[in-house]
């Protein structure tokens, strides 16, 4: 890969120039070979192998025979795998949609407020972003304690506020567990889209806002007809990142619910399902590298396809709105 001819050789005399050229090739090789090799061994090769492995049968960590699409067929067409796959996939979709509405919607509102430069903007920015820096494991455990049905502060606060009827075992019942996890995720991540939106709004030339106001536009009209269309590139990025994040969901459900997606697989997502399939389930004792690899390939494909297609669509929207 490193057969490069430097073009930038300075004008210099005969023999000196040749040796300088050789030196430069050596210098470039010194710079490029270690990172390229390192990246190949620990990123490129494993990712390529994941695809290859999914077409093989496996006994433990030993690869056996080529089985074609059999692993994929089991995941998508054979029970109980099919049911698990659909269940987990569906939950990822729910996570994405609710995060897009609650987390990113609220972030947009906060960014619009902060863009008006109210008193204390710098302080608010620093505070809102703080949870983004915290480990999801810490955040998850912290909220698991807070959501404890008997001793947790969430139910205690509800009772204090006279809303005791709403107090419930949030993580213990199938109807509320996933929603509780999604809200904790929003608490942890809210500052991220807020800062991206804020940077986006601040990049809009001030004259556009002034012109709109001079034309007599009210606050809502300014947001609707100036901020929103010109914020389109930031919206694109946040939608895509929220999507990728939702389909990579693992830490929060693992820490707060458990590796089996309890109760009754109501918090199971593809990340947990993949981990269980690859490295073993406590209850079922299932461990299959073939199935796990196939699942990884499916997740790769979904994330990559949707990201690329959506980026195209959203970019077109940016052009139309601009």
């Amino acid at each position: 890969m490193v057969r490069h001819l430097p073009v930038l050789a300075p004008p210099a005399a005969g023999g000196f120039r040749l040796s300088r050229r050789g030196n430069r090739a050596l210098w470039l090789a010194m710079l490029l070979v270690p990172p390229a090799l390192f990246f190949t061994v620990f990123v490129a090769y494993p990712i390529a192998s994941a695809l290859v492995y999914s077409f093989y049968g496996w006994v433990g960590v030993r690869r056996t025979t080529f089985v074609g699409l059999a692993n994929f067929q089991r995941l998508l067409g054979q029970q109980p795998f099919q049911g698990w796959t659909i269940n987990a996939f569906w939950h990822n979709v729910i996570v994405f949609v609710i995060l897009l509405i609650i987390q990113d919607g609220l972030a947009l509102l906060l960014a619009i407020l902060l863009a008006r430069n109210p008193r204390g903007t710098r302080f608010y920015q620093a505070v809102f972003f703080l949870p983004v820096t915290l480990s999801l494991v810490i955040v998850g455990f912290q909220w698991k304690l807070f959501l404890n049905p008997i001793f947790g502060i969430v139910n205690k606060l509800l009772r204090v506020a006279g809303l005791g009827a709403l107090a419930q075992p949030w993580l213990g019942q199938a109807e509320t567990a996933l929603l509780a996890l999604i809200l904790v995720n929003a608490w942890r991540w809210l500052g991220f889209p807020t800062m991206v939106f804020l940077a986006g709004i601040r990049a809009i030339p001030e004259e556009y806002f002034e012109a709109a106001r001079l034309d007599g536009a009210n606050e809502w009209q300014v947001v609707r007809h100036v901020t929103w269309p010109l914020l389109a590139p930031a919206v694109t990025i946040i939608v895509i990142l929220t999507f990728i994040g939702s389909f990579n969901w693992f830490e929060l459900p693992y820490v707060m619910a458990g590796v089996d997606g309890p109760p009754n697989r109501s918090t199971d997502v593809l990340g947990l399902y993949f981990y269980r399939t690859a490295f073993g389930e406590i209850s079922a004792g299932l461990q299959e590298f073939g199935l796990g690899s196939a699942l990884a390939v499916l997740m790769f494909s979904v994330i990559l396809t949707v990201s690329i297609v959506w980026t195209r669509i959203l970019r077109r929207r940016e052009v139309e709105l601009a």
Partner: protein, 280 residues
Amino acid sequence: MRPVAVPIGRWTWATLVQLLLLANTVLVLYPLVIMGLSAFKSTREIFRNPFGLPARFQLDNFLRVWEGTNFPLYLRNSLVVTTGSVLVILTLGTMAAYALARYEFRGNELLYLFFLSGLMLPLRLAVIPLFIELKALQLINSHLGLVCIYGAGGLPSAVFILTGFFRSLPRDLDNAARIDGASEAQILFRVILPLVRPALVIVGIYNLVPVWNDFFFPLVFIQDDRLKTLPQGMTVFMGQYSTEWAVLFVGLTLAALPVIALYVVLSRQFIAGLTAGALK
């Protein structure tokens, strides 16, 4: 006398904005304050009086965690792994980005895209091949194994961000140095590197926080309790002391403290660094 001239409408707007921002501030800080305060209470007190100040700020819990558990060990392991990974990312990332940004050679564009391909693909989905590979290299249950994964996994973003910075520096800089007789290495170390220090800080933070917080790769690759990182150690901890909430809150507070402390000092760099991937 200005305030008199301000119309009522604007004043109520400003108040409304402040109220909403304050509400979110409480939403963010209150859970963290409760966590911190609970660390000073006894378990009994946490159950009885979860919201108030602790009766007295007792440090017994902190001593119990610091001296009676593997917590200091987890902390040290996280420091080792994170420092090592960030150093690898910065060193290799600078080398690749510098060569790609400042020299023309055949295959330059292709190599650049090769590194960038890693941006779109979550590395954790390649964990099965990595597991087999690391087992063969005898890097399971080893901090070096983690450093290799994080180091390589951080390269795409480092190359992307740093190449942009290196390209933005004027060509005349190195040409002038070359005419003065500086060697290629001298140009990099004496001329270019001092100029890209802010970019190195961005790349450092962009990788430092996720590596420090990562849970997935240690979960798969580290089984020996004495080698576990902080987030992974927390799960051990939470299992061991599940009923002793006082100890749990101390653990959580102590685990959150290093990052919060660093954030208080460097919040602007943190925000710039962590959103670097989303902003061009």
